[in-house]
């Protein structure tokens, strides 16, 4: 039942906050891990069938409009997996018990799960806000100056996005008298291509608001600051799933299921996607901070997802969904790598690093898998999703496909630069005595690398499965 995706984290928060001395602090990590594992199991079970909220027995009045289909099941699975890795990273990289962080992580999971399952525009907004509020607090968690600054930037831009989204919902409500996905879709289909100005304005506002949330260029100002200033475990979660669910997923859901008849939106998304791909990649080349480079790389990779979505074809959507999942995994992997490097060397400044591959073989090896997958090198997972996206774009516009292909070379360039500066090249004296990271971090790196490899090597089966589920 969809409601479990919200009630289980809620139950976990209640359990952690029972008024028993030190219980919550001792159990926080365990309860967090169990919750994420349950979420992974539930989403795997849900992936096999479409779950609708039961209309009978427990007809819980609180959760009337929740539903899980294949698309949301994939996203729910991704949330569970990345949250699990994030918890492990926190446990292994931070000295504190993580009580507050884990509570907030469970709350943010509830928010993201809600976003994935609602079928109403206003409910979508409410759960999006849950995710956003929890994100601000998580970024500023340790109250360091840069964290507070990053959280503040995210907060301000997010507020602008919120205003746009609310205005768009108001316009849609004004015209249709309803906010349910199905009712809005039926209304738009009934217009037969002649849209009133309010509806067009609503599309524009939705696209702009969600572009801010997704961190697309030119609305990306908050992304590098938020990602690089957040605590390491939070960066993994933010880059892996939060931005994607609060922005990209909603764009995908709305433009596939609600606004699908509007061709104008597709063209806008293709342009936004291409600009993000190119600018993100170019900006990444100029970075010296490991996490900032990954943040700009995220902007570029999210551009590919949006590009696939913008084609409006089932193939483009399948590519976008696959890249959504793949990017969540390999970008989380790269952020775990950066955590390992920072833990062992005390710096993220790539100018002060070098030759770490021999000192940190697991981190160095898995980072190669992560970056090759990001650059779209076969047979890793990133190659296949980019291939599907580029084929779908090729059918719509050859020039756009060509630009996307060229940008892939840029991705390769900045990651080669990163590898040369951090892991290969001459060992700098400062890292002479550095050793490999601890077991937990290595475990997280290996888990995410394994998923990246398996998704790449077993891609034909993944494709067949998606075909069976009607995605392609």
């Amino acid at each position: 039942m969809p409601v479990l995706f919200i009630f289980i984290p809620l139950l976990a928060v209640v359990v952690l906050n029972l008024p028993v001395k030190n219980f919550g602090k001792k159990m926080a990590f365990g309860v967090g891990v169990i919750t994420t594992l349950v979420q992974i199991a539930l989403s795997l079970a849900a992936g096999g069938a479409t779950w609708q909220q039961a209309d009978s027995a427990i007809k819980v009045r609180l959760v009337a409009n929740l539903s899980v289909d294949f698309f949301s099941a994939v996203v729910l699975f991704t949330i569970g997996l990345v949250a699990l890795v994030s918890l492990i990273v926190h446990r292994c990289s931070s000295g504190d018990d993580g009580f507050n962080l884990i509570n907030l992580m469970l709350l943010i999971m509830m928010g993201m799960d809600g976003v994935c399952m609602v079928t109403d525009l206003f409910s979508l907004y409410v759960f999006m806000e849950v995710t956003a509020v929890a994100s601000f607090i998580l970024i500023a968690l340790y109250k360091r100056k840069e964290g507070l600054e990053g959280a503040f930037k995210y907060f301000m831009l997010s507020a602008v996005a919120t205003v746009m989204m609310l205005a768009a919902i108001a316009f849609i409500f004004m015209m249709t008298g309803d906010t349910g996905f199905e009712a809005v879709r039926l209304y738009l289909a009934g217009l037969k291509g002649v849209y009133p100005f309010q509806v067009i304005l609503a599309f524009i506002l939705f696209t702009a608001g969600l572009s801010v949330k997704s961190g697309l260029v030119p609305f990306h100002g908050w992304v590098p600051d938020a990602y690089s200033s957040a605590p390491n475990s939070v960066s993994v979660l933010l880059a892996g799933v939060v931005t994607k669910v609060a922005g990209v997923y909603i764009l995908m859901r709305l433009f596939r299921d609600v606004f699908k008849d509007i061709s104008m939106i597709g063209n806008t998304l293709v342009v936004l996607g291409l600009i993000s791909i190119v600018i993100g990649a170019l900006a990444a080349i100029g970075q010296n901070d490991f996490k900032r480079m990954l943040a700009y790389s995220s902007i570029s990779q999210v551009g590919y997802i949006i590009l696939g979505l913008g084609t409006g074809s089932p193939l483009g959507f399948a590519g976008a969904l696959l890249h959504f999942f793949n990017h969540a995994i390999f970008k989380s992997l790269l952020f775990v790598n950066s955590t390992a490097v920072e833990m062992q060397t005390g710096t993220r400044d790539m100018r002060r690093l070098g030759g770490l591959a021999s000192k940190m073989p697991f981190t160095g090896g898995t980072s190669v898998i992560g970056f090759l997958s990001t650059a779209g090198i076969p047979p890793l997972s990133g190659f296949w999703s980019k291939l599907l996206i580029i084929i779908a774009v090729w059918r719509v516009s050859v020039v756009s496909a060509f630009i996307a292909l060229l940008a892939s070379v840029l991705t390769l360039a900045y990651f080669l630069l990163l590898q040369r500066k951090v892991f290969f090249g001459k060992t700098v004296p400062e890292v002479e005595n550095v050793g490999e990271s601890n077991g937990g971090i290595i475990g997280a790196e290996l888990l995410l690398s394994a998923v990246t490899l398996v998704m790449g090597l077993l891609f034909p089966f993944v494709l067949l499965f998606m075909q069976a589920k009607g995605v392609i």
Partner: protein
């Protein structure tokens, strides 16, 4: 007649909202915010939304103001010199903001407003649901979301402010 009163009320609301942002005294700002909510309450009553009006009056105009005033009473106000220095700095940094807002307003009124097609408003009727039903009866899921937001807010306060208190 009704429309005229509404327009006057909305104009007052904008003025009190602007006052709320512009006055230097926090207490006066809180009162201006309460006034904005109170005017909005009347507007909501006039627009046949009594439930929304009651919430607006009790929560936004009442409860929130009480919380703000109590919080302000616990703070130590800046000296006149400090305020003057801050105002000067802010003026330097944000002097262009009112012009941008004014330009936006002009664009909205001159360009966007004439394009609006109000003849089709709510003609579709959605899935047959009444507006009140959509706004009030179909919002069960949101209550759950709001519970989570409140929990998140509580954690936010605990995380970001607790340590400062102990110091």
């Amino acid at each position: 007649m009704n429309m005229t009163i509404l327009t006057i009320l909305l104009a007052f609301m904008v003025v009190s909202a602007a006052l709320c942002v512009m006055v230097r005294n926090l207490l006066k700002a809180a009162i201006a915010l309460a006034l904005t909510s109170a005017i909005l309450t009347v507007v909501m009553f006039m627009l046949d939304a009594p439930l929304a009006a009651v919430f607006e009056l009790s929560v936004c105009a009442g409860l929130v103001t009480v919380v703000f005033v109590s919080a302000i009473s616990m703070t130590k106000p800046h000296s006149r010199e400090e305020i003057a220095a801050k105002v000067k700095e802010r003026l330097k940094r944000f002097i262009y903001l009112p012009f941008i807002l004014l330009a936006l307003l002009v664009v909205m009124l001159v360009v966007l407003w004439p394009c609006m097609d109000f003849s089709q408003v709510m003609k579709a009727g959605g899935a047959g649901a009444k507006v009140q039903e959509v706004l009030w009866n179909n919002r069960q899921t949101d209550i759950l979301g709001q519970i989570v937001i409140i929990l998140t807010g509580v954690f936010g306060i605990v995380v970001l402010f607790k340590e400062r208190e102990t110091k």
